[in-house]
Subunit: 188 residues, 2 copies
DNA sequence: CGTCCAAACGCAAAAAGTTTGCTTTATGAG
DNA sequence: CTCATAAAGCAAACTTTTTGCGTTTGGACG
């Protein structure tokens, strides 16, 4: 029961995808942040440019595809004992990741993609992380905000700053957002 | 005392910029949402492609430039008598604008630009609008949230939804954000 | 297993887009 | 009015992208 993403996910197809992704990552870190071309990637991946064009359409979509993979949350945030602690811990790491050069780049690549579903995917990632922290807090017996409240109160401001005004995407601000969101809960 | 944006903003240069911008807008609404090329734009604008490349670098930057102009707030939001009313009124219009096809396109174009200063510009636009509404409310004697609170509580969630999950960028949600932001003020 | 269909790739030529060196135009200052 | 130079035009390289066609290779079915 393999996940049937594409009509034919078997051997070669998967190998090509892997090779191309690897090539992109290699070139991205090695050099050429700006000048990164499809023929170049094809060369290193050992494929023909036309293969890349046929599968991804253009460079932007390919980069977005690779970057989305990069941003995929691989492990659950650490357990610090409280929801506030977990959130701050996660935010700290996330901000560090996203304000780094490669992190920014990844975010930009995704935003540059015409395919809206990729952005929604980011949204789902964040939601599932928030949901995870919520449930953990609930089993501890903490009173927790709704998922919506967390998205609007924490994820949205953080993401907005990251995208539009990176200078204000700081840990201090993040803690403030957490604070506000959690305390607004108490006053109901 | 003309604004000295560029070394030589005089006649021809300005005319070319105007012609190119017009050509982009014309092509955008006329047809070809996707297939929109520099040589095509150059043709209609009556300029050489190389002129466009030298001034804007590439298609993405040109589109972003045109779109930023489109998003520039031209008039102050209507005065409804209360801050809540002004906000909702503005949000309603803004959401309508941004969920339309051309509006979405403009947003996407700006997000696709490599030049971060353009996004910051969007941020400043929003800030100045919020600040305008704040001051208007202050002269009325209303108690108003800080600019930061409005950006975090209203603009950020709205923008986040517009970008990542357009389906949830609704007027109902917007009113909720306004509500939450204004009422959190009272409980201090 | 062996056969067959079609998806995906390779190849190479053609088309389209982009860059660049040089020339010409025309703004803005003196 | 004259001059220096930013910006545009032009055309020839150059690079990337597209496309048609033949070949490979998963995966289904007998």
């Amino acid at each position: 029961m393999a996940i049937k993403e594409r009509p034919r996910p078997g051997g070669r197809s998967a190998r090509v995808q892997q090779a191309v992704h690897d090539a992109v990552r290699e070139l991205q870190e090695a050099r050429a942040r700006e000048a990164l071309t499809v023929p170049q990637i094809a060369e290193i991946a050992g494929v023909t440019p036309s293969t890349i064009y046929r599968r991804w359409g253009n460079l932007s979509e390919l980069l977005a595809d690779v970057s989305l993979e990069r941003l995929h949350p691989d492990e659950a945030p650490a357990d610090t004992g409280t929801l506030a602690g977990d959130l701050c811990r996660w935010g700290e790491q996330y901000l560090e990741e996203m304000t780094s050069v490669p992190g920014r780049q990844a975010l930009d690549d995704i935003m540059a993609s015409k395919d809206a579903s990729r952005r929604e995917c980011c949204c789902r990632y964040s939601e599932s992380i928030m949901q995870g922290l919520r449930e953990r807090a609930l089993t501890r017996g903490e009173s927790v905000p709704s998922l919506t409240a967390m998205m609007d109160g924490i994820v949205a401001p953080m993401t907005y700053r990251l995208l539009y005004d990176p200078a204000s995407a700081t840990v201090e601000n993040f803690e403030r957002w957490v604070d506000t969101t959690l305390s607004s809960l108490a006053s109901r």
